[in-house]
Amino acid sequence: MESNATTSRITAIALAFMAVIWVSPFSWLFLNAFNPLSTGQLEIPRAVGLDNFALAVSGNAGRQFLNSMLIAAGTATLSVVVGISAAYPLSRLRIPGRNAFLWTLVLLRMLPSAGVLVPLYFAAQRGGLLNQFGVIIALTLLNLPFTLLLLKNFFDTVPIELEEAAYVEGASLLQIVTKIVLPMSRAGIAVVWFYSFTGAWNEFLLPLIFARVQDAFPMSVGLYAAFGQQGAINYGFLTAFSIIYAAPAVGVYFLLRRNMNTGFAGVGVKG
């Protein structure tokens, strides 16, 4: 909106104000993370130190970080690849009832994870997939309804005239897809990848039950080391660990944002 400068200035200030309010609850997180004597209260720490962070990275945190990365990036990539392969035909070929089918699939995901996880677990066990790879496949599978529907919507908005034009100029199917459709849907694909990534990054239950050895746990499981027995929570550890745990996801976001929100970068249609 390039209306006059004052409106944008006001908007900017309003947005800045909103942003400050939005992150104010994080004060608790930081105050406790840097407080070696933290008790979970919202208070100015009497002592400041990095002890909690040291505790958070000790132990298996490094290994867990790698596991988290593997599972999250693996799931996101597999989801997007499988999703694109199916979403393009779904978008372009007039298969009857495809919308209803996709929406029903998405609705089915409302059934409780408990019911789905158990047969899933048994199947994975029989297939020798009780490992990271199994977790990736399982998460991709569970995400697929959302992935497909989202990608199909984005492909739908790519004007078919562009593809026609390219075909007339002698492009093959593969070229049409890779040179026209995918770049135009870049934002959508990036969003779907990011969504799958963060979903998998935060996934606790599947890795917990699939893991057969100590070393297979991702950071989402490691977070719970903060919870002792009888509800004694080590808040210092919890908050410091959360910061370390959320940081890579934020980092991935920064890497991707150029793709997810390109401003007015959409390619125009010529004629």
Partner: protein
């Protein structure tokens, strides 16, 4: 299957079919697993104990219980209120507004706002619950900064205004998704169309309302479906924050489901609740689907 005259499609039907195969296989597996969840609602399956090995089919008994057992209808109402305000009104409207507003802004303010809302989304649910409790409790941020300095007695917000607080927390947590989706969706609106509208003298508001919104209608409908489903079944944040309390003030269907399935060990009944939820959201989605039927 009529494909008009799109020769690059018709001549490659086999390839396209094969491309769909991996997804088809995974979908098949998903359907298989989901069928079990559906089947459980007709049994008296339990988590542990005798009924976990010795279960039997009980027909529609679980569904009858939905209406006779205390709690289902109240939870349903609480959930509807929660979903309406936090998801439909909160997350998607706010997400869209931010997406529209930030599109033309300079990168600094945009980066700042984006990171802020992203942080909410990326924080693990359990930590977010503690964070919100620390903000709205009797000794929390709001009280410390705004209530006590004015000489007023501290208000236990999370206890006395449980549902509104939980709603706000959910908006805080989930808006980033709607924002991301709408940003990407607005991206796909072709520049020419918007320029043409501008040339025609449309104000920014008119440009959004009459040009961009209709074009991204499928995205809006899809997003409504997604966030309705997610919020209907969303459990961790609410349970951790208030346990469904005080009393049953924040007992949404997801919390009710958890109490029935896990503290009770009643997986059969729990599945029936989920099936009921599915039917309800299914009906809602018919409304959303109407939005998809755009006059072309």
């Amino acid at each position: 299957m009529k494909n008009q005259a799109n020769p690059w499609l018709t001549s490659n039907l086999l390839v396209l079919g094969l491309a769909m195969l991996p997804a088809a296989l995974l979908i098949g597996a998903l359907l298989y697993f989901t069928a079990w969840a559906f089947a459980f609602s007709f049994t008296d399956l339990a988590l542990v104990g005798k009924k976990s090995v010795d279960w039997s089919w009980v027909g529609l008994q679980n569904f009858e219980r939905l209406f006779t057992r205390r709690g289902f209808l109240e939870s349903l109402w609480t959930t509807v209120v929660f979903v309406f305000f936090s998801a439909i009104v909160g997350q998607s409207v706010l997400g869209f507004l931010l997406a529209a507003l930030l599109r033309g802004s300079q990168s600094t303010i945009r980066s700042v706002v984006e990171v802020c809302i992203m942080l909410g989304w990326l924080l693990p649910d359990i930590v977010a619950a503690f964070l919100w409790s620390a903000t709205t409790s009797q000794t929390g941020l709001i009280n410390q900064l705004f209530v006590i300095p004015f000489g007023l007695p501290p208000i236990n917000f999370i206890n006395e205004y449980a549902l509104p607080i939980v709603t706000i927390a959910n908006i805080w947590k989930g808006t980033a998704w709607s924002y991301l989706l709408f940003s990407a969706a607005l991206d796909s609106v072709s520049r020419e169309v918007v320029e043409a509208a501008k040339v025609d003298g449309a104000t920014p508001f008119q440009r959004i309302w009459m040009v961009q919104l209709p074009i991204i209608r499928p995205h809006i409908a899809t997003n409504m479906l997604f966030i309705t489903i997610w919020t209907f079944t969303y459990f961790p944040l609410i349970y951790a924050m208030t346990g469904g309390g005080p009393g049953t003030a924040t007992q949404t269907l997801a919390v009710f489901l958890y109490n029935q399935s896990f503290s009770r060990g009643n997986l059969g009944f729990g599945s029936a609740i989920s099936v009921a939820m599915l039917v309800i959201v299914g009906l809602l989605s018919l409304i959303y689907l109407r939005m998809l039927r755009e006059p072309k």
